[in-house]
């Protein structure tokens, strides 16, 4: 038992680091994912994850596999695309989903091109799928900072954020915080994706955000609980995915997302809040 579940982590430092990193990512990404889902912005998260690529790739082009350069590049690119897509949808006839799709496709193509200008296919794989098994001290520190900042900001923004989801017209009529809230939230999405990018790559970073959030919706209808469940599922996915990758010799990033996906499918079937099994069970209707 010990050898299977605990052994890899007690024996290898890189496994410990990977676990700490994924826990940090799950702590920040879980709640952010829940709000993305509730605001019907799940695909926005996906689009923004792609949008980060050219920025990170540009940092890579200038400085190689450097943490600050790639982080800064990713942040700038993420913010630029989020704001540009917002502006386009606000001032033209194009809706936000279409304008985001346009920007992220452009970003993805640009990013892959930039990486291939200088690097090898190995580097491209690194940027696309991350290096969760090779997290150094500075990266861990960055991930911890991001999750701390995220949780603190969410605590401050919680009320206006919920209000903006349910009844934006009402929030606009009683306060001017709606726009600030929305922008701050987009900022949180970007920093969490940039953090996730270092461990899981641009393509899978959004997975540890959205899969636990989507799964948590099948277990509770309470937003606070939903965020807690989402974090727990994220941590569990990290733990399970790392073990799976260790024992089955699979790449770690995809293994983590696969476990998260497995938990999502289990939740979809067995979840108490509208899971398929409960919908399918023939139960008599109630008295009142």
């Amino acid at each position: 038992m010990f050898d299977v579940w605990i052994g890899p982590f007690s024996e290898f430092a890189f496994m410990q680091r990977a676990l700490v990193g994924t826990v940090a990512i799950a702590l920040g990404g879980g709640p952010v994912g829940v709000f993305l889902m509730l605001r019907r912005m799940s695909l926005t998260g996906d689009a923004m994850a792609h949008a980060i690529l050219p920025g990170a790739a540009f940092g890579y082009l200038l400085a190689g596999l450097s943490l600050p350069a790639m982080t800064f590049g990713g942040l700038v690119a993420g913010v630029v695309v989020a704001v540009a897509a917002g502006l386009v949808s606000r001032f033209t006839a194009l809706k936000e989903d279409a304008s985001l799709a346009a920007f992220y496709l452009l970003s993805l193509a640009l990013g892959v091109t930039i990486v291939s200008l200088r690097g090898s296919n190995v580097d491209l794989l690194h940027v696309l799928f991350g290096t969760v098994l090779a997290l150094d001290d500075n990266t861990l520190l960055l991930l911890a900072t991001i999750s701390t900042l995220t949780l603190l900001t969410l605590a401050v923004l919680y009320r206006p954020l919920v209000l903006e989801c349910v009844d934006p017209t009402f929030l606009r009529s009683v306060s001017r915080t709606g726009v600030v809230t929305h922008l701050a939230f987009l900022g949180l999405v970007v920093i969490n994706l940039v953090g996730g990018f270092h461990a899981l790559g641009t393509l899978l970073a959004v997975g540890i955000m959205m899969l636990p959030a989507a799964a948590s919706r099948f277990w509770t209808a309470d937003i606070t609980l939903m965020m807690a469940v989402s974090v727990a599922i994220g941590i569990l996915s990290g733990f399970g995915g790392l073990l799976l990758s260790f024992h089955a010799e699979l790449p770690a990033g995809p293994a983590i997302i696969l476990v998260a996906g497995g938990i999502y499918i289990l939740s979809l079937v067995f979840g108490r809040e509208g899971g398929l099994l409960w919908l399918a069970l023939p139960r008599r209707h109630l008295e009142a």
Binding site: Y158, R159, V166, S173, V174, A221, M226
Partner: protein, 248 residues
Amino acid sequence: MTKSAIRFDEVTLGYDRRPAIHHLDGAIASGSLTAIVGPNGAGKSTLLKGIVGTLSPLSGQIHLDATAPSRVAYLPQAAELDRSFPLSVYDLVAMGLWSRAGSFGGIGRKDRGRIEEALAAVGLTGFERRPISTLSGGQMQRALFARLLLQDAELILLDEPFTAIDAKTTADLLDLVTRWHTEKRTVVAVLHDLDTVRRVFPETLLIAREPVAWGETGAVLSAENLLKARRMVEAHDPHAAPCHRHAA
């Protein structure tokens, strides 16, 4: 002379330079109970948006005399609320405390008492923990009125509050509207049911893209005025020239 709650100074409101309502001039007295009536597309909702400030006038000015923005409550047409969001009726109603509690302010025992009172006033006691997704149209409207009660506003703006609502609920909610009137709050409501307007609302503003008549309800809702409102031109004129009416 009575104090005015809202003053319109040659106001034109619209979208894309096209007026939805133009050249509105006048005032709504403080503590008055006014109905806004007119055919679909007459600019009624647009006018309310202008008063709340979510839409800026294309020209002219709207003055909210002596009413702080936090003392204005606005109930838009129901469709703009995300009903699938996992929120309880209690939390929805508690939003009415925003102007006092804001983002971080605590909700104390006294506030919880007021939330329960508001729920009782609209007949939703026992619905506290129900998710808003399970409410019927009428129950939702009751919950939104409870939220309005908590907002404790001086100026209350209602956009078609009784559309698709049954007679019993309408009567209950109209009682709240008259209660607000006796409490000297200013209430402005967009309505379609002329019988209700004649029965409950002393003042009426009849509009059809521009003001048709404004004043005491009985006089405003004359057959002649209503016919005039019905003749409103709805289509956009693609070759419309810039308006120079009243321009210096």
